[in-house]
Symmetry: C2
Subunit: 168 residues, 2 copies
Amino acid sequence: MQLAEAKLKFIETWGKLGSEWGINRTMAQVHALLLITPDALTTEEVMEQLKISRGNANMTLRDLINWGLIEKQHRAGERKEYFYAQKDTWEIARRVAEERKKRELDPVLKVLGELSAIEGDMKDPAFKTFKTSVTDMHKLTKNINRTLDTMLKAEENWFWGSIFKIFK
Amino acid sequence: MQLAEAKLKFIETWGKLGSEWGINRTMAQVHALLLITPDALTTEEVMEQLKISRGNANMTLRDLINWGLIEKQHRAGERKEYFYAQKDTWEIARRVAEERKKRELDPVLKVLGELSAIEGDMKDPAFKTFKTSVTDMHKLTKNINRTLDTMLKAEENWFWGSIFKIFK
DNA sequence: TTAAACTTTCAAATATTATTGAAAATATAT
DNA sequence: ATATATTTTCAATAATATTTGAAAGTTTAA
């Protein structure tokens, strides 16, 4: 397989995975492109390589910056902006986990907390089942949240080094 | 807040979380409904409560069965099928993780393995960056996969009991 | 068998989400 | 200031995903 072909395959694969994990396909593809490109690229170059419109490229690049996955670079004497990807994978995983936790898990946690606080008659099966399920789901979500928090605080070596040994 | 209102809120919240995590909204809602309902429900009852069509209810219930999240119940002398949810949250988390791993992570792992095996000239920056990034992503994905595998094999108590203490 | 009860299928309709492209806004050099 | 390069916005459009509903299929009882 040639490099050019392999690049396309990587971009496609990463894009698919992204779309299955709530990161839109184009965003994951642009990220993949920047990951495998040695130097920073302009909006123009991203548009060309992925065959997407200017508007799409602009918005996607901004989103990636907001997720903390890529950064802007300014070059002396040049007017356009260059973009390059953070290439440390542990940092990428952290950023994605952090962002999704903030956007999705935290709000749900809040609602579940409210719902599991509701009072009622435990002798009523309808209430009892509701209460139990909601409380259990709340616990599960809190556990997942806690695990993510711990991971987010962890340093790379500590994480990959010790946790995975324990998980062995 | 009344029970009826709380139920709706739970169904809505769980549905939203589901849709953000690649499980379609209706599927997550039907699951939520069955979770908080003491007795098994018929297709008809699910249709009524969530105001969805027969076709949709049928397909969604089948999907939930395929994910291992709900089961059918047959009642003596009755012709229709009843559905009820597995209520053990740890088991729910396991099933979802297992299913998504199988559907999404495993295929990606295969492609990344192929791509990171490609040979080339490490003095060429284009090749070097490609190789390094793909290999790193492969490692990251393998690590995530390994963690999931370990979790899937773990028993509830062992998992929540010891791992989270370590994660403290 | 036949018929009623129930389940499944799937093409068409609807809803949701992503993308385009051209105009407006902004920044920079002269 | 003015022209030019570059970025941003967003209504219109396109692509994708979900839902409907009615017809076809299946099962069971008599």
